[in-house]
């Protein structure tokens, strides 16, 4: 049960410019995390529960959380190239490379590092949802039959019901000879197996 990778169409929203030059010594990166409804609803991660989603800049330099509408921002960011990661249980997000340009502030330069797709604005969506558990296969006759015990029982049934059929189809001459031989050896009986209980 590999999770199906779903590439989502980029939802174009008219809002949210990505980078704005802030006051003071740095820039501000604004963005939005969008977790589509319907994705992962059957899972354990509650849909729409964004309070535990973390947005991480440069491998832990700054950690922030999402506002109720999914927006986040990093303030006082120096110009340069940065990496944004989203940590959300139940979803797989690609890290995003964001270039903050000192020359023309406000210019958006963002790309998913997993598939090198450029983003026209910083709207981050999961590439796929993550299913952490194996799904139990529903009960089927085949799975029982395939199990070692099933095979043993099956073999036994074959011996019990098909062997007599085979014996019947045998040539009567041969049959008699075989029976003759068997009588000479004696019928293996449980009693004969017991110590001292042999009849012959």
């Amino acid at each position: 049960m590999a999770p199906i990778a779903r590439l989502l169409l980029l939802a174009l929203l008219p809002t949210a410019l990505t980078i704005s030059s802030g006051s003071g010594d740095g820039y501000t990166i604004n963005g939005r995390v969008k977790i589509p409804q319907g994705l992962g609803t059957k899972g354990f991660a509650l849909p729409g529960k964004t309070s535990n989603v973390k947005v991480i800049l440069n491998g832990g330099q700054i950690v922030t959380y999402l506002r109720p509408d999914g927006y986040f921002s990093f303030q006082n960011i120096p110009a340069g190239t940065h990496l944004i990661e989203v940590a959300a249980i139940g979803y797989f997000f690609s890290p995003v490379r964001v270039d903050v340009s000192a020359r023309n502030p406000g210019k958006v330069q963002a790309a998913l590092t997993e598939n090198r797709r450029g983003l026209s604005e910083l709207v981050l969506e999961p590439l796929r949802d993550e299913q952490y558990y194996e799904i139990r296969e529903p009960f089927s006759i085949m799975s029982v039959v395939k199990s070692p015990m099933g095979l043993m029982v099956g073999f036994m049934l074959v011996v019990v019901f098909l062997m007599p059929k085979l014996v019947e189809n045998m040539d009567p001459e041969e049959m008699r000879r075989a029976q003759e031989e068997m009588r000479n050896q004696g019928v293996p009986s449980l009693a004969s197996l017991l110590p001292g209980g042999g009849r012959n």
Binding site: A2, P3, G22, S23, G24, F44, T50, S51, N52, K54, I56, N58, G59, G60, Q61, I62, V63, T64, Y65, L66, R67, P68, S73, Q75, N76, P78, G80, T81, H82, L83, E85, A87, A88, I89, G90, F92, S94, P95, R97, T113, E114, E130, Y132, Y133, E134, I135, R136, P138, F139, V144, S147, M149, M152, V153, M156, V160, Q179, V187, S189, L190
Partner: protein, 984 residues
């Protein structure tokens, strides 16, 4: 040999590409446990909501803000802020928002109280660094909007509580002004900012809370200067100490006029006390000063007159004031008495009358009370009841109510420094297995239920019964050693200096011990726990001895502070002995030798490079002397970029005749050029790692010999410019150099330079390979590389004729002084996530294939098969290589959600992953710690040597019964047939 080949066969059989660690949802909690903690509480605010569940919001030293259930101490919600995002203050605004000020007062956030959703976040800048204050005035309104008052970075802000907008701001740019208090008297529209300027000037600013206008600015100078903090005794009076700590200054600024009074402490207290400090508290009219021995409570009466109300030599903790009615304030006071603590709740204006006086029995292992937070509730008879939240020395959090501990949380476990394991006692006679299994009928019933479960015939009630049966199987939490080695004790040392023993079966605390040697004392002012070592692991001889661990600690933060050793019995948690050393401990080297009582020999290196041998017995010394010339070690000076190799020289030549002290000599040194390389990571193999075989059979019946040496050191250096944050350098001026160094000879066996790479580097070393994780600036992705090192000198041993004729060199001695002929193979792959920790699975005999355990930035632990990091991977492997199990090369490593060891859980604030082999070869125990703890069992190649948890014994039994029945039936039938045959 047959068993080995059988294992190999099984390994081959079970090596399929599907994720090996995978779990069904109903198996959660069977072999793993997860515990959530918050860390030492810094500040607590009680939610005053009348309706709904009672909660308390806390901020901690682990940068956690959490909302706890006041009734049971459970976590409603919790957020871990970034490592640099230290929380300065928390409060509750409008009864429904939790306001946090963090990062030195530059980030203000608001969280929804019921569910912990962040509501808004604003960034506060200012002209200079300063103390920060967060005030939430209840009655200060601004267009129907409540206002927050924040002083941070030398600027006063008024901020809307609803959306975090800054309403006005006012700078305090005066160069030397140091803010001490920000006061908002209730019922007025004024804000007072008081502080010191140039350390002898008292400054007071009166500000209009409506618009930030400066109304008044007064200052007065005190020639004696100030020291320490100030205590606010009323909304318009503060008390400070002069620079000598012997004169109290009572400064009042009523109506914007500064007036002051000086009172020498000696006037109040007869005997001389020495320099005192003010204990910050907010109780009106009363403050406390503390000297080395005594704590004095002083009341302010009228115009700066002071009066001593109580003097105590007990350890004491005071809470902040709690206003219980219009003009009454209460506060809590906790005093220690031998095994009890005395809690008193007093009214601020009436010291002698106690509202409440209770004694609570307190476990000595919790140490002193560090913090007290008070809250009140209305009893059914409309009188006031009080509950207090106390933070203890071991970082635990307790709620006291009506003379009892209602709940307690062991939050010391959120800050683990080091982990080791210990075996449990061997099962004694008399404890029979039958006790556990009840009786055969119960056992069979259980298995019938399980069978029903696997056949998907069980009803929901049955399913619930199965689940509870599995979870509470008493087998896994027994206090004795088990056959498979799954049950062990995890011994953890926390930052508070407390040692805990956790049971691997269910994670419960078996014992805990606050180390006496880590207690603050005259000789040792600020002890810090450093490391844990296995001191005594009895197995062959000395079976009657209990195992013990060695705790190495140090008095103070600098590395030349004297060390302290303590020895703790791991069965009982008793401190056997402790040693205060007269030398520092820079390095501890556990030697591979033990004495007759199975005590391991340890070599402690001090700051002057003398080596000290422990235990100090003559037997240990004689063992040590025998191996004197075989002991080598290395040291890393990462500031200077030097790695040095050392060996022992002779007895100490100093004035003290100590036969356990040895001089050392430097053998070699590797100096990295400081302008181009900076050491960021060094790793070696784990000391106790077991390697099953040196030979590796590759495709075409070829053999490669792994270069297995315990003395290999992996060192990674980066360009000094590239040691900062990601994106701070361009790919052209950044590089990473990886070295493999032999630590006995100092020979560099392998060196590789990667251009355009940057740290942080996380690396793990096992057998003959090293895997390291770093950032690739060109591709702007994380990467992982593997280096495998093979011994070429044995490569020609493949020839059978040579073996037959005895010309092989298999038995020739290996010496590190002869230049080894080695070849290395390496390969790199992309990896999606940042890492926090990396580890590798370890098993008892090293037969089972390995998995890498990656602690990702999302606080999850991912198991990745080592076969994905095999330098012999090619895009199109040949048929033979495929049979060997080589995976076709891809540019990035796969992340399979089912192979997350932590499944749907997070180990919040992950810091380390520890793997311990179980006795069962297929299984390894994994313990991940951070703010949370997580433990599980892992079988990297599936459990090929034991039946799985859900193996159905009932099905087996039924099959056997059916077969036996069938034998009888057929026998009867055949006999009857024979009889008929005879009659015929």
């Amino acid at each position: 040999m047959a068993i080995r080949s059988f294992f190999l066969f099984i390994l081959f059989f079970s090596s399929s590409l599907s994720p090996v660690f995978s779990l069904y949802e109903d198996q959660v909690g069977l072999m793993d446990w997860h515990q959530q903690y918050i860390g030492k509480v810094k500040q607590a605010v009680f939610s005053s909501q009348r309706a709904g569940r009672k909660r308390v919001v806390v901020s901690t030293e682990e940068n956690v803000i959490a909302s706890l259930d006041l009734r049971h101490g459970e976590i409603f919600w919790r957020h871990l802020l970034g490592a640099d995002d230290v929380i300065d203050g928390i409060d509750i605004g409008l009864g429904k928002y939790v306001i946090t000020l963090s990062s030195g007062g530059s980030i203000l956030r608001s969280w929804n109280l019921p569910d912990g959703q962040m509501v808004w976040e604003s960034s506060l800048q200012g002209p200079k660094h300063s103390k920060s204050f967060l005030l939430v005035p209840t009655n200060l309104k601004f267009d129907k909007d409540n206002v927050l008052v924040v002083f941070s970075n030398g600027r006063l802000h008024a901020i809307s509580c609803i959306d975090g907008e800054v309403l006005w701001k006012k700078d305090f740019e005066a160069e030397s002004f140091e803010v001490q208090q920000v006061i908002q008297p209730p019922g007025s529209d004024l804000i007072y900012v008081v502080g010191f300027a140039a350390s002898y000037q008292f400054e007071m600013y009166q500000i209009n809370a409506k618009n930030g206008e400066l109304l008044k600015h007064e200052s007065a100078s005190f020639s004696s200067g100030f020291s320490g903090e100030v205590s606010l005794v009323s909304t318009e009076t503060v008390v400070a100490l002069d620079s000598t700590g012997s004169i109290l200054l009572t400064i009042s600024f009523q109506d914007g006029k500064i007036s002051s009074q000086q009172t020498p402490i000696s006037n109040l207290v007869e005997e001389s006390l020495g320099p005192a400090v003010i204990i910050p508290s907010s109780v009106s009219g009363i403050f406390a000063i503390k000297t080395d021995a005594v704590t004095v409570f002083i009341r302010v009466i009228g115009e700066g007159k002071l009066e001593v109300v109580e003097k105590t030599t007990h350890e004491i903790a005071v809470s902040d004031a709690l206003s219980i009615s219009e003009d009454q304030e209460a506060f809590a006071l906790i005093q220690h008495a031998s095994s009890e603590i005395h809690l008193t709740v007093k009214l601020a204006h009436d010291w002698d009358g106690n509202l409440l006086k209770e004694s609570v029995k307190m476990d000595r292992q919790r140490g002193l009370v560090h913090k007290v937070f008070i809250n009140n509730y209305i009893r059914t008879d409309r009188s006031y009841g009080f509950r207090v939240l106390i933070v203890m020395e071991d970082h635990s959090l307790l709620l006291l109510q009506q003379g009892e501990i209602v709940w307690s949380r062991e939050d010391g476990l959120a800050s683990i420094i080091d982990v080791t394991t210990s075996e449990l006692p061997v099962e004694r006679n008399g404890v029979s297995v039958a006790k556990v299994e009840h009786n055969l009928f119960e056992w069979l019933k259980g298995h019938m239920l399980k069978l029903k479960g696997t056949l998907m015939l069980a009803s929901p009630e049955d399913m619930a019964a199965i689940q509870s049966m599995r979870l509470k199987s008493s087998e896994k939490s027994k206090m004795t050693r088990d056959h498979n080695g799954f049950r062990k004790l995890l011994i953890v040392l926390t930052r508070a200096g407390k040692l805990f023993a956790l049971h691997t079966g269910d994670g419960r605390i078996v014992w805990s011990h606050l180390l006496r040697s880590l207690h603050k004392s005259e000789a040792c002012q600020s002890p810090i726990g450093l490391n844990l070592y296995q001191w005594q692991v009895p197995h062959h001889h000395a079976m009657d001895e209990n195992p013990s661990v060695l705790v190495v600690s140090r008095c103070g933060p600098s590395s030349d502070a004297p060390g302290v050793l303590s020895f703790v019995d791991t069965y009982t948690g008793k401190e056997l002995s402790s040693l205060s050393l007269d030398h520092a401990v820079v390095q501890v080297i556990p030697l591979p030798y033990t004495d007759s009582t199975e005590q391991r020999l340890h070599l402690l290196i001090n700051a002057d490079k003398h080596a000290h041998l422990y235990p100090k017995t003559s037997e240990a010394l004689s063992i040590f002397k025998r191996e004197f010339l075989n002991i080598y070690w290395y040291s890393v000076e990462d500031q200077n970029g030097i790695i040095k190799g050392h060996a022992l020289k002779c007895k100490c030549t100093g004035e003290v005749a100590d036969e356990f002290c040895f001089d050392t000599r430097d053998l070699w040194s590797v100096v990295f050029p400081s302008e181009s390389e900076k050491i960021v990571a060094t790793v070696t193999r784990k000391l106790n790692e077991v390697v099953h075989t040196q030979a590796k059979v590759v495709a075409d019946q070829d053999v490669m010999y792994k270069y297995i040496s315990r003395n290999l050191l992996f060192v990674a250096t980066v360009a000094p410019k590239g040691s900062g944050e990601i994106g701070s350098v361009t790919p052209e001026e950044s590089w990473l150099v990886a070295y493999l160094i032999d630590t006995v000879t100092g020979r560099i066996l392998h060196r590789v330079t990667h251009h355009g790479l940057q740290g942080p580097v996380h690396a793990v070393f096992s057998e003959n390979w090293v895997v390291y994780h770093y950032f690739n600036l060109r591709a702007h992705r994380y990467e992982m590389s593997v280096i495998e090192i093979y011994d070429q000198s044995r490569a020609d041993n493949k020839d059978v004729w040579k073996l037959v004729l005895g010309k092989h060199n298999l038995t020739s001695p290996i010496s590190l002084f002869s230049r080894p002929e080695v070849i290395t193979k390496s390969q790199s792959y992309f990896f999606t996530h940042s890492l926090k920790a990396i580890a590798v699975t370890s098993t008892a005999k090293g037969i089972t294939s390995k998995q890498l355990l990656l602690g990702t930035i999302g606080d999850q632990v991912l198991a990745l098969d080592k076969r994905f990091l095999d330098p012999r991977r090619t895009v199109n492997p040949t048929q033979a290589e495929k049979e060997e199990g080589i995976i076709p090369l891809t540019d990035s490593l796969p992340i399979i959600p089912q192979s997350y060891v932590t499944h749907a859980l997070r180990v919040e604030g992950l810091r380390g992953i520890i793997t311990v082999p179980a006795k069962l070869e297929s299984t390894t125990l994994v313990f991940a710690h951070g703010v949370d703890l997580f433990f599980t069992q892992l079988a990297p190649s599936r459990t090929y040597d034991s039946l799985t948890e859900d193996f159905s014994y009932a099905l087996l039994l039924i099959t056997i019964v059916a077969l036996v029945a069938a034998i009888f039936v057929t026998w009867r039938l055949s006999e009857r047939k024979e009889l008929q045959e005879k009659w015929r």
